[in-house]
């Protein structure tokens, strides 16, 4: 093997390895540093983590990969942090002589053990999902500091510019600093309220990946997997392992089981009824069932329980009266608990499967969603067999309202079948 070829393969490996390590290790380093030095130093923590990776790229390019790249990164990160904070405390000491109330942070050993990493990330999750910042900002910040996503990747996921994401991130961090949000698990009497806000953000993160209009399938899947990883972290900790958290994880598993079946090679969405069932991930379905069973403890019924129930029935491909009756009743309950236009439309679809299309059309006319393309797509679908003129009219209305290429394509496919 020629030396040149060796260098080439090393670079190729690195090109794969560094982004991967960045994703996983960057967020761990930030979480540990934030836990130790507080939210005020979040940007310093980010700088230290980024600087560590810069050193890695420089160093590994000519010295080759170290035997244990992760350990190498941790050592460098620790040294950089110690240097920075030693310097910082010298400065602090000097200032302290003049202003004597500054709290002193002794520079202790930085603990990058697995236990401390997990604990730090869990605390960070609560800080990042603090209700003082908006849900959208929480998702952005979680992607950046807990999932190690690049600014470009986040911008891509939200279909916006890097500049917008940068602004959103710095405003969110500033808010967390100004509010002096502690990096800690909330106390026992407030943990459930805070958990609700955390799970809502994780649900948003998952949905962003699952329903995103972005056509980068890899990125979308990564968003979902990260949401699942963070939810799993909550399930693993006895203080946060609540029934509704298990219900959320169960819901994610059921949905994720259809990843491979719901998009074709041209990145087009495949309708549920047209999906190849053999591509559904049985392993994820049984994990979903497991977490669903875990979620049935206690006596509170959350929206996640109901949505997991609906998702469970969708893992059974064969149509039956029982399946759709169950889905309908779950939607009936879900809508009482939390109304959403999507749930209202899906309920009407389930109703057509149980009580017939005419009953569903009558119901659809009552739900006033005249500005939604999905409303007209549903009506078109319901009229398809009985009245092709009305079906066509509704699909055309849907088309006029559709905002994305993917939606237009789906409606066009429906029109073509008339």
């Amino acid at each position: 093997m020629s030396p040149l070829f060796l260098v080439a393969t090393l670079f190729m490996e690195q090109n794969e390895l560094i982004p991967h390590l960045f994703r996983t290790e960057y967020s761990k380093i930030i979480a540990v540093l934030c836990k130790q030095f507080g939210i005020h130093h979040i940007e310093i923590a980010e700088d230290i983590a980024a600087d560590t990776f810069l050193s890695a790229v420089e160093n590994w390019s000519y010295k080759g990969l170290p035997a244990n790249p992760t350990a190498w990164l941790y050592t460098v990160a620790k040294n950089k942090a110690k240097n920075y904070f030693a310097h910082f405390s010298v400065l602090n000491d000097k200032i302290k002589k003049e202003i004597s109330h500054t709290a002193e942070q002794p520079v202790t050993e930085i603990d990058l053990s697995n236990i401390n990493i997990t604990d730090s990330q869990l605390r960070m999750l609560f800080a990042v999902c603090h209700p003082c910042i908006s849900g959208e900002s929480q998702v952005c910040l979680a992607l950046r500091v807990l999932c190690g996503f690049g600014i470009d990747e986040i911008a891509n996921a939200f279909l916006t510019s890097s500049e917008t994401i940068n602004k959103r991130l710095s405003r969110a961090k500033e808010k967390l600093r100004n509010e002096n949000i502690p990096i800690e698990l909330p106390s026992a009497n407030e943990i459930n309220d805070r958990l609700e806000s955390v799970t809502t953000t994780l649900y948003l993160l998952f949905s962003e990946g699952y329903y995103s209009e972005n056509n980068n399938a890899v990125l979308r899947k990564d968003l979902c997997l990260e949401a699942m990883r963070l939810t799993y972290m909550l399930v693993e900790n006895p203080q946060t392992n609540q029934p509704f958290v298990n219900a959320l994880l169960s819901l994610m598993c059921f949905h994720a089981s259809r990843f491979e079946a719901r998009v074709n090679e041209n990145n087009e969405l495949i309708f549920y009824q047209d999906q190849d069932e053999t591509l559904w991930n049985r392993d994820l379905i049984s994990k979903g069932v497991y977490f669903f069973k875990q979620s049935s403890q206690g006596n509170s019924l959350s929206r996640f329980h109901l949505e997991a129930g609906i998702a469970f029935w969708h893992t059974i491909k064969t149509d039956s009266k029982e399946k759709w009756e169950n889905i309908l009743q779950l939607y009936n309950k879900l809508l009482q608990l939390k109304y959403s236009p999507v749930a209202a439309l899906n309920r009407t679809y389930a109703l057509s499967k149980v009580n017939g299309k005419d009953a569903a059309i009558a119901e659809a006319e009552k739900i006033n969603l005249a500005s939604s393309p999905y409303y007209y797509t549903l009506l078109g679908e319901l009229y398809k067999e009985s009245d092709s003129v009305k079906a066509k009219l509704n699909f055309l209305k849907a088309m006029a309202l559709a905002k994305t290429a993917a939606d237009l394509q789906i409606i066009q496919r429906q029109l073509d079948t008339l």
Partner: protein, 117 residues
């Protein structure tokens, strides 16, 4: 948007329905409430089981159940959001309780704490 309570009045609460009939009514009631909820017009509601029912009278006299002296009983209620009493009445017309002869749904506006009502 106001809130209205729809109170289900049963002519005779002592009538026992078969489990099959109960199941049909239950589904109809759930679909009816689901329909209101799908319009984002549902506020809250519950069924009121006849078991363990008591009536407390003047001078702390307590009797079992609403049966006996009063024949009519309340089986449950829902609170809906509606812009007028007529809209609330339209919701009430779909209530499965009305399939029973003599049963009724009373529609009443919920008082707001705005010193007007």
């Amino acid at each position: 948007m106001d809130e209205f309570i729809l109170i289900f009045r049963h002519q005779d609460g002592t009538k026992i329905a078969s489990p099959e009939q109960m199941q049909i009514w239950m589904k109809q009631t759930m679909d009816w409430i689901g329909s209101i909820a799908a319009q984002n017009k549902f506020s809250s509601g519950t069924g009121l089981p006849f078991a363990d029912a008591k009536v407390v009278w003047h001078n702390s006299v307590v009797t079992n159940g609403p049966f006996g002296d009063i024949k009519e009983t309340i089986g449950g209620f829902v609170i809906v959001k509606a812009s007028s009493v007529d809209e609330a009445v339209e919701f009430a017309k779909g209530c499965p309780v009305l399939q029973g002869d003599g049963n009724s749904v009373e529609v009443r506006k919920i008082a707001k704490n705005d010193a007007v009502h």
